[in-house]
Symmetry: C2
Subunit: 344 residues, 2 copies
Amino acid sequence: MKQQNVTIKFIAQKAGVSFSTVAKALHDDPAINSATRERIKAIAALYNYRPNILAKGLRSRRTHTIGVILNDLQSPFYSEIYKAIGDVLHKKGYTMFLADSKYDEQLEKKNISTMISQGVEGLIVSSVSEESENIELLVNEGVKTVFIDNRPARNDICCVYVDHEAAAAQAVGHVIAAGHRDILLLNGPEHLPSSQRFKRGYIETLASFGIPYRPNLVKHNLIDIKITAQQIERILEGKDTVRGDEFTAIVTLSDVIAIGVYEAALTHHFSIPGTYSVVGYDNILATKYLSPPLTTVNQPKEQTGLYAINMLLDSIEKPESEMVQIILTPELKVRSSVRPLEKT
Amino acid sequence: MKQQNVTIKFIAQKAGVSFSTVAKALHDDPAINSATRERIKAIAALYNYRPNILAKGLRSRRTHTIGVILNDLQSPFYSEIYKAIGDVLHKKGYTMFLADSKYDEQLEKKNISTMISQGVEGLIVSSVSEESENIELLVNEGVKTVFIDNRPARNDICCVYVDHEAAAAQAVGHVIAAGHRDILLLNGPEHLPSSQRFKRGYIETLASFGIPYRPNLVKHNLIDIKITAQQIERILEGKDTVRGDEFTAIVTLSDVIAIGVYEAALTHHFSIPGTYSVVGYDNILATKYLSPPLTTVNQPKEQTGLYAINMLLDSIEKPESEMVQIILTPELKVRSSVRPLEKT
DNA sequence: TTGTAAGCGTTATCAA
DNA sequence: TTGATAACGCTTACAA
């Protein structure tokens, strides 16, 4: 156990100089005699001196800390993103706070509040909403923020996101091209911006092929394997507004949801793509090795993370960097979970 | 943009009282008249007052921040663990720093240093080593630490980990029971404690069945899909110390490695379990849905996280809590990636 | 019931 | 070339 904190003051005592001399020496201030400087540095190293970032931050407003607030820490989709973020931060000497908002606006607010309290220099947020008091909060407090995964309604905020409508169009277009016309959409929570955009893409694509939109073919649920499996179960057991024979293909907002369909296939003994064709979204790592390999729409996750963190650090380190909004394009990955339907 | 920080002083000015009165009111100090207290609180709320945790921490030594240092942020194995950790922390009002050591001792050291500088109250570390100067550092600095995934050589440190030798025994035992005798071990980096334990379990289990141990059947690589696929490739192309026909089963330190084998199977057109039987370790989410579903040994990940964080918070919040070392037991999940071998 | 003052470990300005 | 001092925002005696 440590008796006394090794502070600048402590080093000063050991070196027999004033503490401000130590501070300067440690900062390679040219005003300090190089001999004393080296002596002080040696003592600092000996006692394993480590600057107190709290004190530093209090005084200089630089904490070298940034916060990342996401909706599901466990999701492989997000983990690829913050992996990339973490790597850049580490290289640039920053530390990362990570928090989970679980798709909940209140939780998100609390997370933002805590991070501000902690003195973060910037925030990367995959927000629950595109227009909420949380966003106002961020703007009012003057916290540098980059949104990912969606685009805030205000256009004075940086963001980088994938065009979810285009993604839905690719997914839906693909199953329609395979001959499907009755397409179930397993969407995320209704209030989620990405759900809304994805649904819009779904509806528009149906329209463009002259397929009428049937609202009971759209299901909103949390993005979760078990919950998705239960949703399918409800349908198969006739406890839903749609019956199991009213659709032949399933398009999902997320690969995690798609895996939920796989889970249901396992327990309810239906076949993919025999009974239902399935298309995912995100292209998380495992999808390629699923049984059958999942046809999905790729989101450039690493790129998202890199753009976001670089934009954020830019805006922190450069006084007046511009507002940038980056839109990334999704890309269909055809594998084996969609089967061509015989024309009837 | 904010003009002035909303501090206790600022509130005091607005309320026309001294700043220490504000501090007390905000802390529900009974010494303060309830009327003024409410008035002050109202003003604080109005201006969206948010305490500066840096200043707080500097003064009170409580930052309500803990650090989590892991070896691979992206791995679903770890993400299930820190998901659990994050949830508990959030409930108890703590914030989480997260850092990636990438199985590198130097990086680990830097991460520990930074976290200490940041004033974390405790650390959860999946260390690169069980006996390193990093651990000494932790002990010398008096940082409350819980190790996960391995057991430090010193027994004055809390830890919670799964018995990797037992896990290896289950995996190897299972393929031996299926008639395999030539078993390739795809292990993690050689210096990694879990690699060492797993290998020990592998060797001992072979011995207990009277199967001679052949060192060229053990491969050490980073835990990574691509790198694993390349390892397999090297073997299949005759560029390794072992040939492709010298083994019939593959046991791996991690499901991620097992997925690497699946990747190789895809590109090199061999069959699992036809050509090689495969057993994973960890039981990450996706394994159940792979093609074929992966037989693997489960690690209780959520439990690991929960135990670890609860132990840590205990030792932070209670003056003299005991040193605890928790060993969790692995459990074989039989699925379809191992095939019974005809006795010859 | 409220106010004053010192101190946490830095940085930064000014004086010696 | 070095030292004294104030300030960052907060907590906490202690004084009024």
